[in-house]
């Protein structure tokens, strides 16, 4: 495994109390593999990713337990300076909103080149040449001229390509993409996603794709991890999940996708609201919203059941769910 997250716990300590954002997450990704992490906002998918990258705001955030093994080393045991050298070079992150994630007062050439001057000790001139190469690689037209421009002078799709170029600059082993296409126009989304998938294949990188868009997932992911209330509720190869979900929450998510062949029918929506992370319900966190909930769900936290050697589900009634 390239990356393995083991039993990770993250809390946020605020004035109003302690929010348990991540409660024992386990997932892993191999070189060349794409893991999609799925979940509503507040499910802990971004927080887990930030903990992996080491860019969690601490305080208020605090990692209270677990391990993050990257190429065999536990990142949580590294000193900040060693950790920094991993960031950007060995693992990189692509953010959702490229406009706000790029520095408004530095040219894109400076921001791309910085990767090479800082991590590789290149001269500014060489770094500039590298920056132009990168922009060519993510297919930004007229890279030579545009390298001097500022983020606000690019279109949304082009900006996201620059984010991708920046992440790929040092050909890291792992890329974490946090909703990389959510902020884009629908027409551009596919282009950007295809580009990302293509570059990933080419460089044999591990990719963690955080999203709440099941459409994107079906196309590019190898495996899916579904998160709810800071915990993984189901993890499985992508085809298995689409065929038959083994957790009622996954089932709800799948059923809430609008489908052409069911035109005219009422859209399914999971009832209720995501739980308050300061006050997660006892038992299975999903029980207040679950159509299959029984008494045991309100008292016992379901363990991760092995559905088969590829697949886990955190539902007491995974069998019933799997069978419809």
């Amino acid at each position: 495994m390239l990356l393995e997250v083991r039993d990770l716990h993250v809390e946020f300590r605020t004035r109003d109390g302690v929010a348990k954002a991540v409660n024992g997450v386990n997932y892993g990704v191999d070189a060349g593999e794409t893991l999609a992490v799925l979940g509503e906002s507040g499910s802990g998918k971004s927080v887990t990713a930030q903990a992996v990258m080491g860019i969690l705001d601490m305080p208020p955030g605090k990692i209270t337990g677990g391990e993050i093994l990257f190429q065999g080393k536990d990142l949580l045991k590294l000193k900040e300076e060693e950790r920094r050298k991993v960031r950007g070079a060995e693992m990189a992150m692509i953010f959702q909103d490229a406009l706000s994630s790029l520095n408004p007062v530095l040219s894109v050439g400076d921001q791309l080149g910085e990767m090479f001057t800082v991590h590789r000790g290149m001269s500014r001139k060489d770094a500039r040449t590298k920056a132009i190469e990168l922009m060519d690689r993510v297919r930004i037209p007229a890279a030579k001229e545009r390298v001097r421009q500022f983020p606000h002078q690019f279109s949304g799709g082009m900006r996201q390509r620059i984010m991708i170029a920046m992440a790929l600059a040092l050909e890291p082993a792992l890329i974490i993409a946090d909703e990389p296409t959510t902020a884009l126009d629908v027409t551009v989304q596919a282009q950007v996603m295809d580009l990302l998938a293509e570059l990933q294949r080419e460089l044999r990188m591990g990719l963690i794709l955080i999203t709440h868009d099941l459409g994107v997932v079906a196309d590019v992911a190898d495996r899916i991890a579904v998160m709810y209330a800071g915990r993984i509720v189901e993890q499985a190869p992508v085809h298995d999940i689409y065929k038959a979900p083994a957790h009622p929450y996954t089932k709800g998510l799948l059923e809430s996708i609008p489908r052409l062949d069911q035109k005219g029918q009422e859209l399914y929506a999971i009832k209720g609201l995501p739980p308050n992370l300061m006050n997660i319900p006892p038992g299975c966190a999903f029980n207040p919203r679950c159509p299959m909930a029984q008494d045991v769900c309100r008292t016992d936290v379901p363990p991760l059941h092995e559905v088969d050697d590829q697949r886990v589900s955190a539902c007491h009634f995974w069998r019933e769910c799997l069978n419809g």
Binding site: M53, I55, D57, R84, K85, V86, R87, G88, A89, A92, M93, F95, D97, S100, S101, L102, N103, P104, V105, L106, S107, E114, M115, V118, H119, F150, H152, Q153, M166
Partner: protein, 296 residues
């Protein structure tokens, strides 16, 4: 900008000429006798309507003629001795704002909510609350009189060395303001997405702070300091009076007390001009610092 210049100078011109008696200063403490008064008014063109006086005056100003004070000194001569002193004082004040104000602002912005932040924040409120003349008198009393570190009043040369403490006094309120502005700006930008990106790129902390965080956060601060130049020069009256500095404020104060119309209007005209030019420069500087404005 031109309407503001005309409006502000006209306003001052009216205040001085209509509210006051422009020739009162000429006859010393006594009232002028009517014949002399009429004679003097004619001589200085004061018998004409005010708007005409204003136009004549502004016409002269643009040829570099600020008129003559009643004691026969050319106003431009007064300016050439007074302005260098006040400019030196302003430079010292601005340096304090930059060095102390920005440093404190960065530290508190980064350590927001910690004891150092709360302490500095409270201190800035205290500095803002204590009127400049009180700060000045107290520093003069302590450093000059009690401890003897500085001379309580500044010599006519007014060297940079002598102007350190007066400059600090002049800067004090702005300095507190620069601190607060920098702090707010740093704290706001620290949570921004692009700073998170910079961290995710694996840049060293120093580089993240200086190149990414500071560069963005200082835009409003730099523009504030720029506009403050005009305000500092105009506000130097109090500081110059306390430390007996013979600069612009001193000349203005004397001019006002002695009802020396030409001096007052002349100096105020230049100050308004400095204020407006500083504002214009800040607008240009702003475009240089922020490419979003430049290419808007």
């Amino acid at each position: 900008m031109i309407p503001v210049f005309i409006g502000a100078t006209l306003l001052i011109f009216l205040m001085v000429n209509v509210m006051g008696d422009p020739i009162a200063g000429l006859c010393g403490d006594k009232q002028c006798d009517p014949a002399t008064a009429a004679q003097l008014k004619k001589e200085f063109g004061l018998d004409k309507p005010v708007w005409q006086q204003y136009l004549t005056y502004m016409g002269n100003v643009f040829t570099g003629d600020f008129g003559t004070a009643f004691n026969g000194q050319k106003v431009t001569d007064l300016m050439s001795t007074a302005f260098p002193v006040t400019i030196r004082l302003t430079i010292v004040a601005i340096l304090f704002e930059i060095v102390i104000g920005i440093s404190l602002g960065v530290v508190t912005g980064l350590k927001r909510g910690r004891p150092v932040d709360t302490t500095v924040l409270l201190l800035t409120l205290v500095v803002i609350s204590v009127p400049t003349f009180v700060t000045g008198l107290l520093l003069q009393l302590l450093l000059g009189v009690e401890w003897g570190w500085i001379k309580p009043s500044v010599s006519t040369e007014a060297t940079f060395g002598e102007l350190i403490v007066p400059g600090l006094v002049l800067a004090s309120v702005s300095l507190a303001y620069v601190t607060r502005l920098t702090r707010t700006s740093i704290a706001e930008n620290r949570r921004s997405d692009y700073v998170r990106t910079a961290v995710a790129k694996g840049l060293p902390r120093r580089r993240v702070i200086i190149r990414h965080l500071l560069r963005n956060s200082l835009i409003p601060v730099v523009t504030f300091i720029g506009t403050d130049i005009g305000a500092l020069m105009g506000g130097a009256i109090v500081t110059e009076r306390i430390f007996n500095i013979h600069g612009v404020g001193f000349q203005l104060y004397q001019g006002i007390l002695r009802q020396n119309t030409q001096t007052v209007v002349g100096f105020v005209t230049v100050l308004v001009l400095v204020f407006l030019v500083a504002n214009l420069l800040v607008d240009l500087l702003y475009a240089v610092l922020d490419p979003r404005i430049r290419y808007a």
